[in-house]
């Protein structure tokens, strides 16, 4: 009998040390992340509960990121409520409107280490699995219960194992890999399951590329997505979580998986992918689709607004001008990312090519501000969801792609294979 990554990490958080797939467990949470949902929905639930004190103010991160800085009075009020809560409760980790998107900020501040159980009030909280943690998204009521008790009940998920070998070729990114996997699985192919990624391709990936995969796993319905650590993660933790102790978790050889999927990129190379409206599972190779004219190109979000994403975009547009009439909106995932890209000259390159570079926020990804689409407008986006109306008007169309494809498309005015520019 052996255990998967999900089972092992969850078992370490229960009183009796047991967590077999299918069990309902009561677990002690290591860390909770909440964003604007705190001010809008969690605080009213806490009031109903007659809540007084956070179980541990050093284990909570509050972020104002979805509408940052506030574009209207409603979001401004929610931000005020969050600030007041942070002050009153003595919350140790707080990222106000200047800091960036919650998932990126949590990782950058070294708040996730291997073996952790982290819950976020946001479905993309699966992102932290890139750091060998079990992390998942829940909503307001569960977040309120965690704030009060530090505990949560969970059903231990079955695991779906992926072994990936071979290299991604030039200008093909981990986004293309996960879009092609979601195309195969469908939007509910991993529902209630934990995706587990292994293999040399994953072992060699940058932290950012790994985060992209774990981030988007939820678009196949996954509850979590966990990877073993690699050198890049170790270096990251050495820099950002130096004083924290942790042990890397590996699955047992005899672990039980619901299925095992092997992907050999040298035999079946992956091409740049694009997910057509209105589902992330509508993936097609960019080379296979008809010419699609765009109004906006968006590089940003917790999926692909990181340093490497801004770098590849800058490399593609360097010395060129984006297509007339196309808006290229670039939103770095965090202030740290923004600064790093600025120091490397990527921001200057992007602006010179015609891009609008915004401050770090969820912004356009959620149709909030800084790049909202009008009726009938077409956007190619490096974010994670192309649901109808997600980025603005219900009649707008969103195509998901890698930042390389988005940058190439901005140059040409039509969705373009980044290997062709």
């Amino acid at each position: 009998m052996g255990y998967t990554l999900a089972e092992k990490i969850l078992a370490a958080h229960t009183e009796d040390g047991k967590a077999d797939a299918g069990d309902i467990i009561d677990a002690a949470v290591d860390f909770l992340m909440v964003h604007e949902v705190l001010g809008s929905r969690i605080i009213p639930v806490l009031e109903e509960m007659n809540f007084e004190k956070v179980w541990d103010p050093s284990r909570v991160l509050v972020v104002n990121d979805h509408w940052a800085p506030a574009p209207n009075a409603e979001s401004a009020l929610i931000h005020m409520k969050n600030r007041e809560f942070v002050r009153e409760q003595g919350i140790k980790h707080f990222g106000d409107v200047e800091c960036g998107i919650c998932h990126q900020v949590l990782a950058e501040q070294g708040l996730v280490v291997p073996g952790n159980l982290i819950i976020g009030s946001d479905s993309h909280s699966t992102t932290y699995g890139a750091f060998n943690a079990f992390s998942t998204g829940l909503a307001a009521t569960d977040s309120a219960l965690i704030l009060a008790t530090g505990r949560i009940w969970l059903r231990v998920p079955e695991s779906l194992r992926f072994d990936v070998t071979g290299n991604l070729s030039r200008r093909v990114m981990s986004k293309d890999l996960i879009l092609s996997i979601i195309k195969e699985l469908g939007t509910d192919g991993a529902n209630y399951q934990s995706m587990e990624f292994h293999g040399p391709t994953i072992d060699e990936m940058t932290v950012g590329s790994r985060m992209t995969i774990c981030n988007m796993s939820v678009e196949a319905g996954a509850k979590s997505c966990i990877m073993p650590i690699n050198k890049q993660v170790k270096d990251w933790l050495g820099e950002r979580a130096r004083e924290r102790e942790w042990t890397a978790i590996t699955p047992d050889d005899e672990a039980m998986y619901i299925d095992r999927i092997t992907i050999d990129l040298s035999e079946d190379p992956i091409e740049p992918m694009v997910s057509l409206p209105h589902s992330p599972a509508n993936g097609e190779a960019v080379s296979e689709i008809d010419s699609i004219e765009i109004d906006q190109a968006f590089i940003g979000s917790c999926t692909n607004g990181r340093f490497e994403d801004l770098k590849i975009a800058a490399d593609i547009v360097r010395g060129k001008k984006i297509h007339r009439g196309v808006r290229l909106v670039v939103t770095p995932a965090s202030r740290d990312t923004y600064l790093a890209a600025l120091r490397e000259g990527f921001i200057e390159t992007l602006i010179e090519a015609g891009a609008i570079v915004t401050n770090s926020t969820c912004g356009a990804c959620v149709g909030g501000h800084l790049g909202v689409l009008g009726p009938g407008e077409v956007c190619v986006s490096s974010s994670n969801r192309n649901f109808r109306g997600r980025m603005g008007h219900p009649d707008s169309l969103v195509y998901l792609a890698s930042p390389a494809t988005v940058a190439a498309s901005a140059l040409k005015g039509v969705i373009t294979d980044p290997r062709e520019v």
Partner: protein, 168 residues
């Protein structure tokens, strides 16, 4: 207490596959603090006239993967607010399923239900047995029984009420 759940009656409002939480309530309304105002926009994208036709006690019937996407609890909340008594789907996205019970809205999994139920038909739902009876055709469909943990949440009146019981 159980009869709360073994005869839920209502008219079916039928939806297709992959109704995500953005389709139930769009992200742009999340800054509204009042659920009543927010609920005015329920299913606005997929069925713009929904809030005009929906009646107290109606039952949402959907195909696969209902409630995928964003973790927003506002999705089951607005359904409850407009009077939906129960959601039946061929499958649910996990966060929606959990959120529904947390706020006291029953959810039942019944495979292939959209093949047998049409818009407006009167349904009788038994959560304990996991069955749905269609009045007009007298057909009974069998789904999965609602897990005890979820029935406990409903009996208490949602997760907050359940929590209060636990500590008192």
């Amino acid at each position: 207490m159980l009869n709360l759940f073994n005869d839920i009656k209502g008219k079916a409002r039928v939806f297709g596959d992959d109704i995500n939480t953005d389709q139930i309530i769009q992200g742009r309304y999340l800054t509204l603090l009042d659920y009543k105002a927010m609920a005015e926009h329920t299913f606005e994208i997929v069925r713009p006239d929904f809030v005009e036709i929906v009646e107290q006690g109606d039952i949402v019937v959907a195909a696969r993967n209902f409630g995928s996407g964003s973790s927003r609890e506002e999705a089951p909340m607005v359904l409850k607010q407009v009077g939906i008594s129960c959601v039946i789907a061929e499958s649910f996205a996990r966060i929606f399923y959990r959120n529904a019970f947390n706020i006291g809205l029953p959810a039942l999994i019944v495979p292939e239900i959209t093949k047998h139920v049409s818009e407006g038909q009167e349904l009788h739902v038994d959560l304990v047995q996991g069955t749905v009876l269609i009045d007009e055709t007298n057909m009974e469909l069998k789904g999965s029984c609602v897990p005890q943990r979820m029935l406990d949440l409903l009996t208490a009146g949602g997760a907050v009420a359940w929590f209060k019981q636990q500590i008192s």
